[in-house]
Every structure is written in C-alpha cells, then in structure tokens.
Symmetry: none
Subunit: 410 residues, 2 copies
C-alpha cells in the first residue's frame, strides 16, 4: 500500500509587508522544487476567515471536524504530556508563571506568563504533586519548557469554568468561576482555586525558586490554568481510515493531537519545537516512520513562534534552514509516497498572532496534475491546479491519489 507524508510547517504563511513575506523572500530551492513537482493551491484549514489554533488546525488536517471533536486545549495538552485522560475528566493547559505582591494568590500580579521561559520544572512539579491535596484525584505533568497539564479525575466535575490565567502581564491572577449554574461547575471552580492557593504556597518557598530569585531569575511561583475541557469522544485514526498514524513533533500540543486519535508519537532527541530543534533528526525520523506507518505527520514549530515574535528576518532565516533540512524528502519515491507540504495556519509577523489567511499547499505524487507553479509562496500557490481547498479535504485528496479511497456509489 502507498503511504502518505504530511509536512505541516506551523504558522508558515504571512501577510505581506511592502509586498514581501518571510516565505516569499526566503531562498528555499527545495520548497520551490516541491511546488514545481506537485499540484498547488491555497487552503483554509478550517474555513475562510476562521482563525485556526494549532490544535483545531491539526485536527482538521487529520480529517476531523474540529467543531465536532474539539473540546478545548486542556485535554490535548494533557494527552500530549502523556496523561491518559478519560471521558468525564477535566483537563487544563498549565503555564508556570511569575507573580509578585502580597496577600492571597488572587491578590498577586502576574509579571511573566512563562516564568522567564524556565526550561526544567521536574523538581517543582514533584513538589506540587506531593504537597497539594484536593477533593478529587488529579494528575499534574510538565510539558516542554514552561508548559504543563493538569487533569482533575473522577465524577461530578465540569469544564464550564473560567481560566485562572489572566492572559496578560500586569493583571491579577483570576479566581476560577463557574460559567453555569450547575453544582458540578461550582464544585470544580472551588477545587481549582484550592489548587491555585496550595500550589502557589509550595512553589513560592521552594528552594529552587529561592535560588532563582538570588540569581536574579524570575520565580516559577504560579500555575496559570486555561483551556479547561473534558476529554472528547473521538474515533481513533486507524479506525477511521484503516491507516497507522505516526506523529513526529516537538511540541506537547501536537503530540496531544496525535495521542487523542491514538496515533504513535515518535520521540526525536533534540526535537524542541523551537528554532534550535533537531530538524535533521525529525526529518530522518519521519522518513523512517514511513516504513512502519501508513500516514506520517511531521510538524515543524519554530516558524509559528517567530511569527508570534514579529521577527521577519528570524522567520525567513528559519525557513531557509528548514529548506536545507528537507532535502532528503525530495528523494522519496513518489510512486509510493504521497507528500503534502503545507501549514496549519498563517502567523504573520505583522499580526503576531494566528490569522485565517489561507496557507499554500503542494501535493506531490505520481499522477497528480502538475501545474505551472514553481515557487512555494503565498503569491503563487493560488495559481495552481488545486485552486482553494479546505483543511479537511487534504487527507481525502491524498487517500484518493494513493488509491485508498473507496468509491461512493456504483
């Protein structure tokens, strides 16, 4: 059977500044070869004008309707952190952050939402798990960098509660509030607030934080919760498509998308999800996974971060670095592998945020109707033979090209 490789470069596309984007000005001969070898188009990952998250975008690209299957960032982050969540559990995305001030945790002000981009939180997580006592069972795990996930387990819980992360610097930590009148929401909010207070007390006086403060580093003394969600009922990828899924990704969120559809996560040494990631290792791992799996999703993250940072040159430079690294993909046997090269959304340096501007997509496989597009960019892709498609179409088109699609009708 033929295989499918989907390469998703997070936030790759831009809005032009003076008619230029990092992608359009980058020197990227390999991406351009992919455009020239394939059929091209632009893609609305969810729908025109709908700004995708990386999680909803990836769900759509795997063929799942995010309006049906997405239930917040929490469950996906938790799955990505390796927590086995069950229906009924409530999961949260967690940031280690820094607060200053006096009084209760809810009187203190957030001075950094990433605790100075702290990298190692193992000891702190351990201390929280040993010290915090709640009315329910819970699991708290670290993710990469300042990231983590919290899962409240058991019955009688609700995800209709507010965040404790105020989402901006200089604001006080929010008290968790029930968002409906249910007893479950009220109870869950109380549990969350207790978690906030206890964990802050433990973290603020933890020797590692005392030491950080001495060194002039920001304390990682608050856990900012957001994206409360209950575990979705989602059909496993293999059940849906009859294909074994492998995900090669550095970030917890994308691993989480892979895990909630029961794909295999391929761990790669040095895959960090930032611009220093082990690109060669990830690309090698993705190619190797084509031997053991039917559908391989390779996710590259740094373009998105550089877009969020508004760093035009940094984004262009990373695209050039990535372009060199993807050279081995050009030697794949495209009579046996269908490669989709695209992005999950735009993260324009001008917007510093995800936008709904459609992304370029190129599909390479024997038998595709190769078009006249020879440059992979926002300004050329729409001239190609795919015209404008949706994110959920991409996998169906690949299934058709690889003769895995079944005829509907006679």
């Amino acid at each position: 059977m033929k295989k499918i490789l989907m390469v998703i470069v997070d936030g790759l596309a831009d809005r032009p500044i003076d008619g230029k984007t990092p992608l359009s000005v980058a020197n990227k001969p390999n991406m351009d070869k992919i455009a020239a070898m394939g059929i091209n188009g632009i893609m609305d990952t969810i729908a025109p004008g709908i700004r995708p998250g990386s999680d909803t975008g990836h769900l759509a690209l795997l063929g799942y309707d995010p309006y049906k299957y997405y239930s917040g960032r929490g469950p996906i982050e938790a799955a990505g952190a390796g927590i086995n969540i069950k229906p009924g559990d409530v999961a949260f995305r967690v940031n280690f952050g820094t607060v200053e001030g006096e009084g209760s945790i809810f009187d203190k002000v957030v001075v950094d939402r990433r605790a100075g981009r702290i990298s190692d939180t193992d000891e702190l997580v351990k201390a929280v798990c040993e010290g915090v006592r709640l009315d329910v069972e819970y699991i708290f795990r670290r993710g990469s960098g300042h990231r983590g996930a919290l899962v409240l387990k058991g019955e009688g819980l609700s995800d209709k509660i507010s965040d404790t992360d105020p989402h901006e610097i200089g604001a006080k930590v929010w008290r968790c509030k029930p968002l409906d009148d249910s007893e479950e929401a009220k109870r869950t909010a109380e549990i969350v607030n207790s978690f906030m207070e206890q964990s802050h007390r433990i973290l603020d006086s933890h020797p590692l934080n005392v030491e950080r403060a001495k060194k002039g580093l920001l304390k990682a003394n608050v856990l900012l919760l957001r994206g409360a969600g209950m575990c979705p009922h989602i059909p496993p990828f293999e059940e849906k498509y009859g294909m074994k899924l492998a995900v090669v990704a550095g970030t917890t969120l994308i691993k989480g998308v892979g895990r909630i559809v029961k794909g295999d996560i391929i761990e790669v040494e040095g895959a960090t999800g930032n611009k220093y990631t082990n690109l060669d290792g990830k690309i090698k791992a993705a190619i190797e996974a084509l031997n053991t799996h039917d559908f391989v999703l390779l996710h590259i993250k740094a373009t998105d971060e550089l877009g969020h940072d508004g760093d035009f040159d940094g984004k262009r430079e990373f695209i050039e670095k990535l372009d060199k690294a993807i050279e081995p993909l050009l030697s794949l046997d495209f009579s046996k592998v269908c490669m989709i090269f695209t992005a999950d959304h735009s993260t324009p340096v001008m917007a510093k945020e995800h936008t709904a501007d459609p992304v370029p997509i190129a599909i390479v496989h024997e038998g595709v109707r190769v078009d006249e597009v020879t440059t992979f960019s926002e300004f050329e892709a729409y001239k190609g033979g795919l015209c404008r498609i949706r994110g959920r179409d991409a996998i169906n088109i690949a299934l058709d090209l690889t003769d895995r699609a079944k005829k509907f009708g006679a």
Copy 2:
C-alpha cells in the same frame, strides 16, 4: 423560459501519464470552442477526494445530495430497467456470470463476472421468471448486455444483507447473509439464496447455454447480485425545480437515475453506452428534447469504459469522435439555452477506476463571464472563472444564469 442542457461525458478526465491525458492530447476543436465560449473551472462532483460512482455523481449533478438520497445501486438499476419500485421493495443490481464446478451454487467458482459479455439475455430472463418460485413477489428484468435488475416486492424485507457477487474471478459464489439481527434481514437472505439456487439450476441446463458451451462460449449460468437497496424517498425533479427533465442515455444506471427523479427517458435507436453508440442520434435527440423539456441531461458513457480498460488511445479516439458529433451543439442559441459541458468523475487510464480528481466544466450562456481558457482539458480548466466548484453547484449556477433562480431574501 430558457432551457438547460447538461452534457455529462462519463469518466472523461484523467491523471496525466508523462504529463499527458487522453483529453489533453485529443484533437477536439469543438470542445475547445465550448471552453472558449464559456466560463471554465474544475468540479468535485461530490467533494474533494471523494470518489463518485456514476449514480451518486449524477444525483449530485441533478442537485440531489447523494448522502441523503442514495440507497445503493440496486434501486437505480431496477428503475433504469423499467421496474416501478415502491418504498419497501428491495432491489439488486444483477450480472449474468459464469460459474464452474460441482455441488450447490455456493460451492461453484466464478470464472467470468459478465458471462463473456453476453449481449442478448431475453430468453434466459424469461426462463428464470417462469421457473423460479419465491416466498415473495419479484420482478427480474434484463438491462443492457450482461446486466439486469432484481426486485423483491412486499413487506417484511430488508436491504441489510450481503452480496452474492464475490466481486472477483476465481472466488466461490457468496451465500447471502443478513447484516443485522433483524428477522427481516434473515428472511430476505434466505429468499435471495433460494433465488440463487433455483436460477442457477434453470440457467445451467437452458438450451441456449448448452448451445453456448458447444460453441466454446461461456455459459451465462449464474446471477450475481449486489448493491441491495431499498427504494429511496426522493422528491421528483419537476417538483424540486419546476422544470421538466429529459434524460438521453444509453446505460441502465443513468436511465435509472432519471427515472427515480421521475424524469422522461428519451430512448434513442442504437444508444448502447459503448464506443459504437449512436452519438449523432443521441445529440439530435437531446437538442430536440429542448423543445419539449426544460432540462435535458445528455449522458455519454464510452469514455468511462475505455478508462476502466486502461485504453489511452481508445479513449483519445473516442473523445475525438465525440468532438465531431457535438458540432450541432455549437449552433444552439445560447441566449435561450444554457449548456453545461462536463463529466461525472475521472476514470484515469492509469487507475482503471473512478477517482476523485476534479473534472473540467465549461458553462456557455449569454452573460457568462467568459474567461481566458480556450482549451477543454484537465490542465487548463482550473485557470477559468469558475475556480473550483461542487457537483451540486452546477445546476444552481445554471438556474441563476437562465433567470430561473429565486432571490433568497429581500
């Protein structure tokens, strides 16, 4: 009132081999004129990546959602064979095939699924209808060539049963099995198996088959059933659109689509659905039908068969023959007639099967936004003013162009 002519060339489009398709290399000045006179685009008959059958594809092109109205091939074949099916009836597509071996029909092996492409089955059908006795009323009719349809009539039946056609040569005939636990499915499966045994006994010893065997021809000694379906509840075309529908087609399946939406089937002498069909007669009939009907569907089949056969040159030659035959269409008064020229799906000679690769579509009518496309092919259509549309859009666009569309809103 203005009229609409939809010309559907079955399986017309391809995947390129060395950058060429039968359509792209064919000498077809008339189709190119249609492209030049009209607005062009590509069309996903059902949706991107979804491989259409000719039945589901034609339903979509007539504006019916096949996910809502399609209930298997059986009812459409039966309608096409002229059987008046009613809700509750269970219909099957039937092939005359050839089995060899000893024992019961379910011990025998299928050596040909088309009984050597037998052409005249009138006598055999008569013998089966006279000889087979079932617990229910039934109607068995021939279609074109080796094709036929069977309808079990009455109450207490189910279409949740398996095929008896094993779908491959060298396999034993399948015993019909219930696909759910209902009494209806169990009973229907038993009736089908009895039909299989009785009809085989009658056919195997029929004088015509004895004679075929003597001549070294394959016996038409089994009836292979597939596509069990119950008659769908589908609104008549005239009720849905206020237009009288005429269908000019050689094949039972497409006549069936026309019949289930209560269109008039225009019979044309020598319209066979293969490459020897009476093209001039069909085109003349379609043009004449524009005098008596509002919407005329003209279906040309052979391109699909030649695609299934993997016959590149044969497909190109037939396209050239068709191109000559359609010349009278260019003289239509396009201030009064809107012509849609397209296909129901691709049947690439490289795939020998329907694929979801989008098909070219050209729409000619006074007032369309004529674009720069002057060649009707897979490599040019997508550059046209229609961009990429869906099958169900086509009729709505024609309704709009012919001022039959009603405004939605004020």
